[in-house]
């Protein structure tokens, strides 16, 4: 895994990707810092810059996908995946090595933009706890987006397609709570939501096992659990759909960090999303061998 990590890290710098990412990231952060902190005199860098909607769009829809676009897509395109997959290393080691390299590049960017709160601290009062919480949140949220990008990169052979899809997913994640606010409330929409979820799980079971009996079993169990829950706790279904969606929102968790709230459940949730995406990436790669 270390060999893959080191090669990947080096490749970021030999392919200019790291320079492009770091230059864009630092410039955009510097621009927002100049406007909100220097021109308008705000001293809370984390709350005013890192949580700025336009800043987040720039970072997560444009800059972050640069880091993951070629992780697996290019390997597949140039057939170098044959070298990795026939070497005595597991798929997990390959995925983890590549992912950690992208996280490292982002960490370098994060260190570089630490200069901005330091400038505030040197010239005024800096709410330090808020900055630590904000930086931790940004690190975890970006690590999450990089894991999503890694998964997307394993699904295509074209780095550009990987970048575009990662950008679209980034936007969807950022505006998830806005989209959720358009969802209707009430028992019927919640039941429809549960139905879609159960059908989705059944379809996934079918795609994985190709056995209709297992998919039907999942469908029946899902329907039984939903019905049971409905008759046991009817009031859960009044606002069930929007409550569940808001709970799932990664962006909501990120906002907590930016507002100075260190919530352990949010840390665990974001780490779970990272682990899930990396696990799915290993499955996508392993599955390709069985085609």
């Amino acid at each position: 895994m270390i060999a893959i990590y080191k090669r990947e890290l080096k490749a970021y710098f030999t392919s200019m990707q790291a320079y492009v990412f770091l230059a864009l990231f630092v410039c955009i952060t510097g621009l927002f810092f100049s406007i909100t902190c220097i021109v308008y005199g705000n001293n809370d860098f984390a709350s005013f810059v890192l949580s700025n909607s336009f800043y987040m769009i720039f970072v997560y829809a444009i800059v972050a996908p640069i880091l993951t676009m070629r992780l697996f897509a290019e390997e597949k395109k140039h057939k170098t995946d044959q070298l990795l997959l026939t070497a005595p290393v597991s798929v997990w080691e390959i995925v983890l090595g590549k992912y950690l390299a992208s996280v490292t590049i982002f960490l370098i960017g994060l260190l570089l933009i630490s200069i901005f709160p330091i400038v505030i601290a040197c010239n005024g009062v800096l709410p330090v706890a808020n900055q630590i919480s904000g930086y931790l949140g940004m690190f975890l949220f970006t690590a999450c987006m990089l894991a999503v990008g890694t998964l997307i990169s394993s699904l295509t052979e074209e780095p550009v397609i990987s970048m575009i899809v990662s950008a679209v997913v980034g936007l969807l994640v950022l505006f998830f709570s806005v989209l959720v606010s358009f969802l209707p409330n009430g028992k019927v929409p919640t039941l429809i939501g549960c139905g879609i979820l159960v059908i989705g799980i059944a379809v996934l079971f079918y795609l994985d096992t190709k056995k209709i009996s297992i998919a039907c079993g999942a469908l029946v169990i899902g329907a039984a659990v939903t019905t049971g829950l409905y008759f046991w706790q009817k009031e859960w279904f009044d606002y069930g759909l929007t409550t569940a969606m808001n709970w799932l929102s990664i962006e909501k968790r990120y906002e907590e960090f930016l507002n100075g709230i260190l919530n352990l459940s949010s840390v665990v949730y974001l780490l779970t999303i990272i682990a899930l995406c990396l696990f799915l990436t290993t499955q996508v790669i392993a599955k390709r061998r069985w085609r």
């Binding site: 140039h78 170098t80 044959q82 026939t86 290393v89 597991s90 069985w290």
Partner: protein, 318 residues
């Protein structure tokens, strides 16, 4: 060293491998032949663990690739048809990376990279970016990466592609030098190369093993006893008259006069069995001297065309 048993690979409804089986002894150089789409690369990809088979088993040094993938991959080196090269790395960096990937420590990997560069004759290009190398050099870097760590089993898919004649000779010598101490499996379209390099041949056709034997035996096995070449000294008219009247010969063709009064003929025997003794006596009894008489020997290319062509005819009949 390598045992392949009832290997089946399906891509959707298409069956690329239809239950192939063979085994390779330690130290052999084995040629895997077949037309495009016969299943050569699929077989190699399954042996190396890049693809999974639909059914069947692959055992390398008595280890199953599905049960012990890491251990199996440790003992094999693979040169795929499309070279797996990182073009923005130098030759030295790339081979060192492959060494570390195979579990060598940094210093060992560096030393191993030097060793394989020396063996494949690319030391003078070690600091060049791979993207700036010629096709021939890239092919050598590809072979070098397969040799990193000195694995006892080498799987080489089309190692001669893109090489000029001199490079081909070098590559052939290199592969030959690996034989004995290494087990090598090569697929190639250049049949003459396979014929000179390999001591064992496996011919795949339509996803099945169409023929498998030692190279010489394979050529003998498929040689046609009924086609003969004859050189005889005597009067041309008398020889032709004798051949016309002989029950042994179904058809013949005069190829020419090779020396004074020595004529060369191509004969088609009327019998299934060897007629050389009877033919010799026939001419001797008629006071004519037989200079040579031999069964037409097929080259590997002829054997390949015969096997794959026959299968095609068979298929079209169905």
């Amino acid at each position: 060293m390598l045992l392949v048993k009832d290997l089946v690979k399906r891509y959707g409804s298409r069956e690329a491998l239809k239950g192939i089986s063979f085994h390779i002894e330690e130290g052999q150089i084995v040629g895997l032949l077949g037309q495009n789409g016969a299943g050569k690369s699929t077989t190699m990809n399954i042996i190396t663990g890049y693809l999974s088979s639909t059914s069947g088993e692959v055992m390398i040094q008595d280890m199953d690739i599905l049960e012990k993938p890491k251990q199996v991959k440790q003992v094999l080196g693979y040169l795929p048809e499309q070279l797996p090269l990182y073009e923005n790395m130098t030759v030295q960096e790339y081979l060192q990376f492959v060494g570390e990937l195979k579990g060598l420590r940094r210093k060992e990997a560096k030393q191993e990279a030097e060793n394989v560069m020396d063996k494949t004759n690319i030391l003078e290009r070690k600091d060049m970016l791979i993207r700036h190398l010629s096709k021939g050099y890239k092919q050598r870097v590809g072979l070098a990466q397969a040799m990193v760590g000195d694995p006892p089993l080498l799987i080489l898919d089309e190692p001669m592609v893109g090489l000029d004649p001199n490079q081909m000779i070098e590559m052939r010598e290199l592969i030959r030098s690996l034989g004995g101490t290494h087990t090598v499996m090569i697929s190639s379209h250049i049949l003459s190369e396979i014929e000179t390099l390999c001591d064992h041949i496996i011919i795949l056709n339509e996803g099945m093993v169409a023929a498998e034997n030692e190279t010489k035996r394979l050529e003998e096995e498929h040689s046609d006893q009924r086609h003969l070449h004859l050189k005889v000294k005597g009067n041309k008219k008398d020889i032709i008259q004798l051949l016309r009247e002989a029950d042994l010969v179904k058809d013949f063709k005069l190829l020419g006069e090779t020396e004074k009064n020595v004529y060369e003929f191509e004969l088609l025997s009327a019998k299934e069995e060897d007629i050389r003794d009877d033919l010799f006596l026939l001419f001797a009894n008629n006071q004519m001297i037989v200079y040579s008489i031999h069964v037409e020997q097929l080259s590997l290319e002829d054997v390949f065309v015969k096997i794959t062509g026959k299968e095609e005819e068979h298929d079209s009949d169905i």
